[in-house]
Amino acid sequence: MQGTSSTARTLHGRSLPLLVHVLKSVENLGVSYVKGTELYQSKLEAEIRRLKFSYRESLEDEYEPRRKDHISHFILRLAYCQSEDLRRWFIQQEMDLLRFRFSILPKDKIQSFLQDSHLHFEAISEEEKNLREQEIIASSTSLGGPKLELEYVYKIPFADALDLFRGRKVYLENGFAYVPLKDIVAIILNEFRAKLSKALALTARSLPAVQSDERLQPLLNHLSHSYIGQDYSIQGNAGKISLDQIDSLSTKSFPPCMRQLHKALRENHHLRHGGRMQYGLFLKGIGLTLEQALQFWKQEFIKGKMDPDKFDKGYSYNIRHSFGKEGKRTDYTPFSCLKIILTNPPSQGDYHGCPFRHSDPELLKQKLQSYKITPGGISQILDLVKGTHYQVACQKYFEMTHNVDDCGFSLNHPNQFFVESQRVLNGGKDIKKESIPPETPQPKQSAQKTKNASSALASLNSSLEMDMEGLEDYFSE
């Protein structure tokens, strides 16, 4: 990490927050639009252009911006290496950005990139290709038609082609993936992710030395808190909810995902692991203490004819574990919307997940009807779901159930939904002691009437800009 402190001082004020802008934009667009589609690509390109971010590959006069880009990247590594969640977020956004930049690279540049980056891929012979032609064509979505003769095909150990084989986008035979040139970018991203992940772990270990530099300390702390936002793991409001409030809170202030879990728990007196995690951590986030949680789950499971001793032996350990009282003693944080939408989809017998993402539109419609949402509202919600704007759909649900025109926030966490709901219902008097994090709600006038992804993005960006002022001082020469 030598030289970092002097470089930090000479950084132009624009580049560091800019990169975070870009990463945040990447994240938002990734949720609102299907990655890789034309719409996503053009929105991303427009957003990057708007932020005046240098992304064209090898233009010499772009040296300065690229240098700053590199420096920013390394400083962000310092900020985001500090926890598993932060690392995962950072890696995900950097990968999306790299994928985009690669997609606009001209084809001849790809070959030279492969050679330069020392990725040892061997192209297979014509005969080998011919033997497997049908299979390779049938496996690759990027090959349009039988033009395999013009393509190089690379034979790679399957484990090196993770992003391709997991989605069955490549032909596998005897432990090898047969990858056409067009798909090689996925492999490169894999390598990138592995290297970045290792680098972040290494950075985390050297962090104590860097943090002792008092010029960097406040910057690093500020960065990771502002740009990731609240994770609702701090229990400032622990013990302010009583168990008998939960039933009514579930219909009034819970987001649909948690409302559904609560209902399933009450009806079946049981939830499977995925549901227990998602719902249990949410309850912790709204203020349930460990004792309350144990009582809550036990009461319900016993109704399902579970033996109290079996509960104590099996389930209570897990509950204490999720509160950080066992094993690794990590205090697990409640799941964010992104996490719920993107990971661990529900299967047969599960009730977790995001109803907007994981339910059939028909069944979602019925559910919304049972919640007494108006037909107009339902149809707006279903449209948003069709456009994969799941969190915006949930915001719409909020507006309908709380009778407001504009929910006034950009939803990214179920506990945020709860907090905002309580605020509306209690006329401004929070259950939570803490104040709202800097990056969330703007006052009504800056948000548009039609709640869509770009307005969410706009409000996020404007709040980021407000924050930026403090940071500029760190960098001006």
Partner: protein, 415 residues
């Protein structure tokens, strides 16, 4: 067969662990030739004892240590976990964060309960010979992919003891795979997606991947017997309505009417196939042609894996030759050459084999008793190519594994 009474377990297990549990082969397997130092010693086992007492982080010095401890503790259930960085039974002495799971076999758990939405004969923990075909198909489909697509050579399939099967993939390189790659493998092998809230759980794209195509060929061999005759999925309106939910609405009227006219699931299925291939394919998002037929077959027959079992390197899974405390059945290996004939109800229970042993003991000389013991042991092992391959994997260097096994056992093709 002698009826199994869970109350007798303590006595039965005592006998089982003294006379019948195959310690030598078991140790030879998990020791993997002793090539890597302390590989066996760093392996986690967990025991479930009488009264549901559960102890983790058990580990042993060698075969004799394992034997002694098992005989002393008489576990109701044994799970195998990962190979750790240190001896699991000393993990508390290790600096925080340094005790890590490093390697483990790639495992799969296929459970009949996950098919409740598509089987009509049973639900929950129950199984019968009619729905067992689901496991047969699952084994064939998954095993083919593990062998032909991924190139895995040492695959052991085991009956779980009640309502499903497990697979242990033991290749050296596989034991080192990261959690991400394991998840990726499960994803590759998954086609049925969605919970309660999703009616249609299989969606095929126009491009059909070779994995999917080959899986469908396997299902086709069983579909008529299993789904149309055994499960009778188009028997009556109640059952065929479930199939119609998977088919575009525009076809419903026609199908409803014609189903009434036919007399068997077989006939109705033939009609459905014809109707599907004729329906106009210019309707966006509406699948017709063979895709529709395949999607239905897959939803009813394709294996359903639990990703959580496979992805974690530290995940504990029931050990082969463990006894199922509720059914008394031994978790025996399944012979891949005879998968179609495997009958879960013919699997020896701990009562039946102990009873056999007892019967012989009371009337014959000790020499014959030992012979009987090894007979029983042999039958319990249900020896087959890849299960033997697993045992033999331990005795040779990684390169020789397949040769040793083929030589010893006179088979043409290993695994």
């Amino acid at each position: 067969m002698e009826p199994f009474d869970p109350a007798e377990l303590p006595e039965l297990l005592k006998l089982y662990y003294r006379r019948l549990f195959p310690y030598a082969q078991y140790y030879r397997w998990l020791n993997y030739g002793g090539v890597v130092k302390n590989y066996f010693q760093h392996r986690e086992f967990s025991f479930t004892l009488k009264d549901d007492i559960y102890i983790r982080y058990q580990s042993f010095n060698n075969q004799s240590d394992l034997e002694k401890e098992m005989q002393k503790m008489n576990p109701y259930k044994i799970d195998i976990g990962a190979v750790y960085s240190h001896r699991p039974n000393q993990h508390n002495t290790v600096k925080l964060g340094a005790f890590q799971a490093q390697e483990k076999e790639l495992v799969f758990d296929i459970d009949m309960t996950d098919y409740d939405d598509v089987r009509r004969c049973c639900s929950s923990a129950d199984i019968c010979s009619k729905c067992w075909t689901l496991m047969t198909m699952a084994i064939r489909i998954i095993d083919r992919a593990l062998k032909e697509d991924f190139g895995f050579k040492h695959r052991l399939w085991v009956y779980s003891g009640r309502r499903g099967v497990h697979c242990w993939v033991c290749d050296e390189s596989v034991r080192k795979l990261s959690s991400a790659v394991r998840s990726g493998i499960v994803e590759y092998l998954s086609l049925v997606k969605g919970g309660q809230d999703v009616k249609k759980k299989v969606h095929l794209s126009e491009n059909v991947h070779p994995f999917v195509r080959k899986s469908i060929s396997i299902i086709k061999k069983y579909f008529e017997g299993y789904a149309l005759v055994g499960q009778d999925i188009l028997e009556n309106k109640e059952s065929w309505d479930k199939i119609l939910a998977l088919v575009p609405e525009t076809m419903h009227n026609d199908l409803q009417q014609n189903f009434q006219k036919h007399h068997s699931s077989l006939q109705r299925w033939e009609y459905l196939k014809k109707a599907a291939s004729q329906c106009p394919s210019n309707i966006k998002n509406e699948k017709c042609g063979p895709w529709l037929e395949w999607e239905i077959m897959l939803q009813y027959c394709f294996p359903r894996l639990d990703i959580n079992v496979s992805k974690g390197i530290n995940h504990l899974l029931k050990s082969p030759f463990s006894v199922h405390p509720k059914t008394g059945r031994i978790s025996v290996p399944i012979d891949l050459q005879k998968v179609d004939q495997f009958d879960p109800f013919a699997v020896p229970t701990i009562s039946s084999i102990c009873h056999e042993l007892d019967a012989i003991f009371t009337s014959e000389a000790e020499k014959e008793e030992n012979q009987a013991e090894s007979d029983i042991k042999h039958r319990t092992r249900v020896v087959g190519p890849s299960s033997c391959g697993m045992w033999d994997a331990a005795s040779a260097s990684p390169d020789e594994q397949c040769h040793v096994h083929a030589q010893d056992l006179n088979w043409q093709n290993p695994g």
